[in-house]
Symmetry: C2
Subunit: 299 residues, 2 copies
């Protein structure tokens, strides 16, 4: 199995990037990721202010997928996320939803063992996920802190073990990169960090030819989710809802208005994160109503 080591990182997704590795469709490979602080925060007496921010949010890659071309879909199955024995979580004055109430910076080193983390003596089951994952954008450059149509810092709790992502391929080889894993994160990530870890991620990729999507999708056992971002929560909600209703209308062969009503009954709009440079939500389409493969076939 190919292993892409954690020293090969990018800090922005660009339309033009030099790949560090090549993999084939259906190939299984390992990606070693760094935590969002790039390993700088290892003791509770360290303050956030003394860190080098320019190193934040490294994404390992880019990885060239053979046969992927603009106008295709890149399918990325997350086979495993191997977590270390500890992670870190922080709060910083002015940061997050309640930033105006934070009076001091706090760093918590949190132990992880047997599928749970220990927070002040409270055992909480972990739910490992990938915070930053994306491909080369159509044009321009997006720093790895920012989510957008190419993916990036989507901070979506459902991007976990067993889920499958679908990205629009914008450039030859797709140029996949990932990092910023969390052992645990709640919808919203209100204080600006999850349980930040350097994880080893096992992936399998595939290419679906000639199918285009506007925003990344994540497929879980029961749902297909449209992950959309915007400068405001309202913009993100609009984009995710708009895409989901289009999928319902096309995939179920009903009028747009009928699909809109159906979405109001059965498609949850969920918050992914509220704290990155753009905000992210997901529109959650039950597979029992419309299968992921049927959405993709209808594109």
């Amino acid at each position: 199995m190919k292993v892409i080591d954690g020293s090969k990182v990018i800090h922005s997704f660009k339309s033009d990037m030099e790949p560090v590795e090549k993999v084939n469709p259906k190939e299984i490979f390992k990606v070693c990721t760094n935590d969002c602080f790039h390993g700088q925060l290892i003791r509770e007496d360290q303050t956030f202010g003394e860190l080098d921010y320019s190193l934040f949010n490294p994404a390992t890659g880019p990885i060239y997928i053979e046969g992927a071309e603009a106008g295709d879909l890149l399918k990325v199955k997350i086979l495993d996320i191997q977590v270390p024995s500890k992670g870190v979580s922080v709060t910083v004055p002015k940061e997050g939803v309640l930033g105006n109430k934070v009076t001091k910076a706090l760093t918590k080193i949190i132990e992880i063992k047997d599928g749970s983390c220990n927070y002040n003596g409270i055992q909480i089951p972990i739910r490992p996920m990938i915070g930053v994952i994306g491909v080369a954008p159509k044009e321009g450059e997006y720093d790895t802190a920012t989510p957008w149509k190419h993916g990036g810092n989507m901070d979506t709790a459902d991007i976990g073990i067993g889920s499958t992502l679908y990205f629009p391929v914008n450039q030859k080889g797709a140029l996949l990169a990932l990092g910023d894993c969390h052992a645990l994160m709640a919808d919203g990530e209100i204080a600006c960090s999850g349980l930040e870890i350097a994880a080893e991620v096992i992936l399998q990729v595939d290419v679906i030819k000639g199918k285009e999507i506007a925003w990344p999708l994540v497929e879980t056992d029961d749902y297909t989710m449209v992950i959309a971002s915007g400068d405001t929560l309202d913009e993100a909600v609009y984009a995710a809802s708009d895409e989901a209703v289009k999928y319902l209308a096309k995939g179920l062969n009903m009028s747009w208005e009928e699909a809109y009503i159906l979405a109001s009954l059965a498609v949850d709009i969920r918050i992914s994160q509220l704290v990155d440079p753009k905000l992210t939500v997901r529109a959650v389409i039950p597979k029992r109503i419309l299968e992921t493969q049927k959405i993709i076939r209808s594109l």
Copy 2:
């Protein structure tokens, strides 16, 4: 069992209201509710525009709960929501998250049978819930379309069978009223309606003396949720997060900053509805981390 019939309705929650019935703590009683259109929309060829809007969102009540006084908590357990054999769902130009894309009004009469509804031939399991439920506010008047600290049109999918609500009591007798039930509604309610039904609701109330909360809570098997509303989604998110972090800090005896980090890891911020005069979200505290009763004891 007392039955409060659906002819006794209010269209706004006022600090000063005349009760239509009195019940005792621990008493079980039935409330007959009307749908949000007050039964005006019964055929698919009816258009929304021809309805009398002044009748919308009737809430059955107010119900006086003996022994409830300002500064107490009203506990309302939802024992059952009995659904009729059909409901209605609509879309209307300019209404909802994608209102600018709606080109025509559409009315769908939807059959409900054996725990599922039939939408264009698709069977979808129902999940009955109460859209409007609240008590007399501290002061002033709130129309029943609007959610706020007294409850009202919270349109929260978790206010369903088996859940328990906690309201701040602002006036003697609390003065509970409810209506606008849905057989099914997704988080967001993006097209402005759920599967609207006239339901019969079986409730049991109780009074918890001398405990105050800022926003209503709903308790389910696994979670305690703070339900907060605001003129913007950001305001609602701030209020719900703020309250949840306070509960964690107090209930778990940790610093505010430690509680803020914990919320970022384990307290989901979920959208309830995006379409009423104020928007509603909920902060979802897992009971495995902090029990509802422990929150209430710590108030």
